[in-house]
């Protein structure tokens, strides 16, 4: 019985955890500028994430070790140090973006500018980590995050031409604005394939003491949870394509994304968006802060647990306690969270090989996962999507920021 409950909660977590400022902004941008044409990166990113999340859970259930621990075991301190530096830098920006997402939601509902909200928001995130247990964080934020299902309702109500939507699932080259097309594609891939989600998920599975009997459940959660999450990101794109594109509105503020929701859902679209985004970004901010604490603790061999009191897990707790105030700095300086989001998502795609390649090696090692090594399909799919994201990122980021 407990396991069925866990499946339900796991799926809800994934739905609530998938959508955050990254997926919403990049999907809305894509829809507003290119219609349904950029649905394929959402599909590819979701497919890749399904495999990666399944692997994260499988590693934890079979070996009782997390991804970070296994990486340090096999690849040593030097490689770990490189991944640590890269991931901390990129994830720091993602965290700032998520805190910005909460602050922007508060700005939209109160009228008070987002920089004013940076410190209160950081305090709330920190307090939830300081006093909350893993379960509270996982279940609480994700249940509320279900508000983001409103996007699916909105897309449905707009009655899109479904065959046109389906044709967006096949990668095509753009007729114009090639640089921005590929850059948005990269940002979407980076927003979907989040390494922090893998770190969080595998650590959670170890904290919940999963064993091999959880493998079926794990597969189910990964497949359905991420699929639903991906569908919601797709719904955002569809709404943007049908509401913003015909009006020639390009997304450069969060406000525009919120307002587009009030076309299909005139009575409560805006409010649901504001509430849903605040909670979804809060959930992501919690997961990211924990992921960084896990990254340090597991790689350096410290004691770690989000279920222990801070004085019992001092180094683990001090990592997020230092990180969170630092993440408020860009917002206090008035840097637009949407700009931070877009940059950080593209950078995430660029660092994917560093996070994923060692993980794949471990997942093919019988010493870690016994008979449960990866199959040829999961290896191939993940390698192809990871390399594609990397190449696209390396080519399109300089073009976007330094190109003509």
């Amino acid at each position: 019985m407990k396991k069925y409950l866990q499946v339900a909660l796991g799926i809800i977590t994934s739905i609530g955890g998938f959508l955050e400022i990254g997926s919403v902004t990049t999907s809305a941008q894509a829809g507003a500028k290119f219609g349904f044409q950029l649905l394929w990166p959402i599909a590819l990113g979701t497919l890749c994430l399904i495999f990666l999340v399944e692997m994260s859970g499988r590693l934890a259930a079979v070996s009782k070790h997390t991804i970070v621990a296994a990486m340090r075991d096999r690849f040593g301190f030097r490689f770990y140090a490189i991944v640590l530096v890269l991931m901390v830098l990129v994830t720091y920006l993602v965290l700032a973006a998520e805190i910005g997402g909460i602050a922007l939601s508060l700005q939209m509902s109160t009228g008070l500018g987002f920089p004013w909200w940076a410190i209160p928001v950081v305090l709330i995130v920190w307090l939830l980590l300081w006093k909350g247990t893993f379960e509270v964080i996982e279940n609480g934020s994700s249940l509320l995050g279900l508000m983001t299902v409103a996007f699916a309702v909105a897309a449905w109500r707009l009655h899109p031409n479904w065959s046109a939507v389906a044709s967006g699932l096949i990668p095509t080259r753009p007729d114009s604005h090639a640089a921005s097309y590929w850059f948005i594609a990269v940002s979407i891939l980076g927003a979907s394939i989040s390494p922090y989600l893998m770190y969080f998920y595998s650590s959670g599975a170890v904290e919940d003491e999963w064993d091999a009997s959880y493998l079926g459940i794990n597969r189910f959660i990964a497949a359905f949870g991420m699929l639903f999450g991906g569908l919601l990101a797709g719904a955002v794109l569809v709404v943007a394509a049908m509401v913003l594109k015909p009006r020639g509105i390009e997304v450069d503020t969060f406000q525009q994304v919120a307002l587009m929701q009030s076309v299909p859902l005139p009575n409560w679209g805006f409010e649901l968006f504001v509430g849903g985004m605040a909670v979804a970004c809060l959930g992501a901010a919690l997961e990211i802060s924990l992921a960084i604490s896990y990254l340090f603790s597991q790689g350096l061999g410290w004691n770690w647990s989000e279920n222990g009191a801070p004085d019992k897990e001092a180094r683990f707790s001090v990592v997020y306690t230092i990180l969170l105030p630092l993440a408020s700095i860009p917002l206090l300086l008035g840097i637009d969270p949407v700009k931070i989001t877009i940059l950080s998502m593209a950078l995430t795609a660029a660092v994917l090989p560093a996070a994923i390649a060692p993980f794949l090696v471990v997942m093919n090692d019988k010493e870690f996962v016994g008979e449960h090594t990866n199959g040829i399909i999961s290896n191939t799919v993940v390698v192809i999507i990871m390399l594609m994201s990397f190449v696209l990122a390396v080519v399109s980021i300089p073009l976007q920021y330094f190109g003509s």
């Binding site: 070996s63 009782k64 070790h65 621990a69 340090r72 075991d73 040593g76 301190f77 030097r78 770990y80 140090a81 300081w130 006093k131 909350g132 247990t133 509270v136 790689g299 350096l300 061999g301 410290w302 004691n303 770690w304 279920n307 222990g308 009191a309 801070p310 004085d311 001092a314 180094r315 707790s317 001090v318 306690t321 010493e367 870690f368």
Partner: protein, 125 residues
């Protein structure tokens, strides 16, 4: 006689004490070579400047400086004689008590210097 691939199966592994308390990772292995004799593995080392020295000796100075400024001021790495290694597997199990080594020096320093000064550090939920 059992053969052990030191770099593959010992270096970088998680060290656990006799109560399964995490006590850092194996950052270094020390081998002594007596004059004219065979090399002999004497101990595992962990923490302080040991892992940084693996990246570059130039890192040792700055790391030491930071530890002297903030840290627990016990700069010696954790040194575990090879005779205390009881089991090698995914982790390295040791017949020691983490509390009696310097493995938790940073943990205790962070707890005292930072965590305990913040309200609500004891207990959860």
């Amino acid at each position: 006689m059992a053969k052990i691939d030191l770099v593959r199966d010992v270096l970088d592994k998680q060290m656990l004490d006799r109560n399964d308390c995490e006590m850092g990772r194996v950052d270094g292995l020390v081998i002594e070579v007596p004059e004219g004799g065979q090399p002999r593995l004497v101990r595992l080392e962990s923490g302080a400047t040991v892992p940084f020295a693996r990246i570059g000796k130039w890192l040792v100075g700055p790391v030491r400086k930071i530890e002297r400024m903030f840290g627990p001021k016990r700069l010696t790495p954790v040194r575990i004689p090879w005779s205390k290694v009881v089991k090698l597997g995914r982790d390295v199990h040791l017949d020691v008590d983490a509390e009696e080594t310097t493995a938790l020096a940073w943990e205790k320093w962070v707890e005292k210097a930072i965590i305990d000064r913040i309200p609500g550090a004891r207990g959860k939920g």
